[in-house]
Symmetry: C2
Amino acid sequence: MQYAVRGPIVTRSLELEKELQSGEKKNFQQVVKCNIGDCHATGQKPITFFRQVIALCSYPPLLDDSKFPEDAKNRARSILAGCAGGSVGSYSISTGVVSIRERISEYIKRRDGIPTNHTNIFLSNGASEAIKAVLLLLSSSQSGSNRVGVMIPTPQYPLYSATLSEYNVYQINYYLDEDNNWDLDIADMERALAESKENCKPRALVVINPGNPTGQVLSRKSMEDIIRFVKRHGLVLLADEVYQFNVYHPEITPWTSFKRVLHDMGPDYADSVELASFMSASKGYMGECGFRGGYCELTNFDPDVQAQLFKYLSARLCPAVLGQVMIGLICDPPRPSEPSYDLYICQRDSVLADLKEKAQLTTGTLNGLEGVTCNAVQGAMYAFPQIRLPSKAVAVAKEKGMEPDFFYCLSLLEEKGICFVPGSGFGQKPGTYHFRTTILPSIPVMRRVMADLEDFHKAFLAKYSI
Amino acid sequence: MQYAVRGPIVTRSLELEKELQSGEKKNFQQVVKCNIGDCHATGQKPITFFRQVIALCSYPPLLDDSKFPEDAKNRARSILAGCAGGSVGSYSISTGVVSIRERISEYIKRRDGIPTNHTNIFLSNGASEAIKAVLLLLSSSQSGSNRVGVMIPTPQYPLYSATLSEYNVYQINYYLDEDNNWDLDIADMERALAESKENCKPRALVVINPGNPTGQVLSRKSMEDIIRFVKRHGLVLLADEVYQFNVYHPEITPWTSFKRVLHDMGPDYADSVELASFMSASKGYMGECGFRGGYCELTNFDPDVQAQLFKYLSARLCPAVLGQVMIGLICDPPRPSEPSYDLYICQRDSVLADLKEKAQLTTGTLNGLEGVTCNAVQGAMYAFPQIRLPSKAVAVAKEKGMEPDFFYCLSLLEEKGICFVPGSGFGQKPGTYHFRTTILPSIPVMRRVMADLEDFHKAFLAKYSI
């Protein structure tokens, strides 16, 4: 099992930091970590309102403190009333605090304009735990050589390949179409599915929208095609929608939930396609990764299957309660009439505006480099450019027993202190090379990263093109 | 997979609560939940110092507030300095924040008087996650019919049976000796191990000390016998030590860590027996279940195996950071020279004194009931009495398709609103019946529970003895 965003390049970056601390001289003063979507680690500040409510829930004597706004206090009182014994130190039920799930249910209803029910929602330690639980559920019917198969995109977020490997589920790879802005390619999905059938019984399809590591936002037409595909083949649709707030050109490429598109396709689809949608507190404009908040909404799941999943969840007792509080607040932020509203909007929009600017800065620089092409970052927090490497660089890498893009990223790290993740960690078409960079460091740092990358890239090409 | 502490009796108790809320008349005004070790749910108050530090870490502007004591502020500053970007909203490394693991390492050193190293400690979402991760690691060598076996006590905490079933690991049951205060019985362990060998390759032994659901504290001699047993058979020792603060008669039955006993047995044992010890923020005097804080310390694990475990942990990114902060604080509470010390000691000792009194009250009442015997609650938070049921009650239960002790507990719930867990949920010798009750409700509530139980028990015997 490999987990690239925490892999050997990252280990080396930690060593480099220690070497810098111990006074070793390098070409750079500090390591810039563009390997992981960890917003606060790059200096992004938390949303004041969310943290005020967390502090009030953690230490309720603050409810008497006039320095806290009334809306934050009201939220905290309402949350504590939903916790056993009025304490965030008690367990919740396994699926999460009911009143928090109700707030999430109301958010989904506002978002999609479709009635929803909190009993189809369960909370989790980050979206990762929910994704793993649903994949375990789907694999529970397999035995011995009767393997279940799950379709995942290439490139993909390594949680999927790692989890399928852990549960011995057959991984069915379909390619995203890089020439078509990483759109899904139904013909390739049909090919992958047909080829898989001698090895497994296909059970589900994973779609990440907005894409990770690829940053595309799917068109409604693509989403409809996918829904028709899963309906045709009797697959469960797993929609990783954790970047639903990270959409930078909603006027051109708006984001729509799979639940909404499913609903709009009429009862033939809306009442039958099994859909699990995942959301996280870790991304968006809030980036509260450390709280491990997340939820999953199930649509059209068989009640017995859903009950089996919820029973499985009871063995981990409950997700961290303050993580539950965080994802609940994200789904129920200050309202226009409330005292915290203006500050909330200002903080939220400032983060999103910066991300939009960094998305443009990054793709602009990358597309200006010789042999590099990068699709627009329409959403999420990553650019995933293709790099055409000189054959000599490929040969040197292979001599060293490294993937060529790993060699490129490692060289960049050693020379400039910039930590990217090689495309081989996410999967890519054979013979193509990529890397993933986040767009999270502050604008001045991101400018420096891009300038350093430009220097490095030119020197790298010069060195290996002779 | 059954998970008794969250099973059908608990589901029925939630229904009863709703019926009461909707105005239905019952013999009782409220349901008393004695089914789960959820301290704050029963009204126990959090330790002020811990919650102050959590609030300060969550909302750092409070660091300028003169209402918070300096030691709480210093702890918060030091914790934030160990978090990437100075925020509890960033991911930590997979094994947990280094400075928190260092504090835990110092606690273990103070406790056992043995040097220790934070690189052998990893943090987890409650002890449950750590236990599951280690069991998964131990099972990773199995394939097809080559099953790994793990020895677990009967009775046991159902996390173990549920997890072994999930990972398809062979469960080797050994009986605790009820006639000998739930001590371990090496002869029965030898029997269980020998019998298992045609079905599996035994790999590890689980011991829970203080015991859950059984409440015993193991003697040093028993611990030495266990260590010799695992050494003789090449087993990994998994020591569930989450109740290490819940010891009510340390002058008679002191608690010692397995690590300490192992060390005292000399290098033949100390340098070779593989030991994993688990600790939690959810129990003890603090009972912070909702934070899902926990740690595991590994001793004598092969470095490659340990590296494999830590790599596996990277797929869940990190445990909830405020849960990490909580378990760190529990291992580094206020010191005698610090301003919060007196209040901390007062709060801690008050909870522990109440638990001690409730342990005595509970076992006293139980042993006074006809046909009921209960070993002393030396530690943990539970009493696990044996109930001898009239044969007519057993027959009626079987007619209803219920385990007899389930029938007893369900009748008690319906008539008195008291929620216990039947012994069948933990495992027991065939033909014996038990239940588990926590000792967590406040002293007045616990007195009422015991009085109601006495009434019920007499009426139950009268009804089924004719």
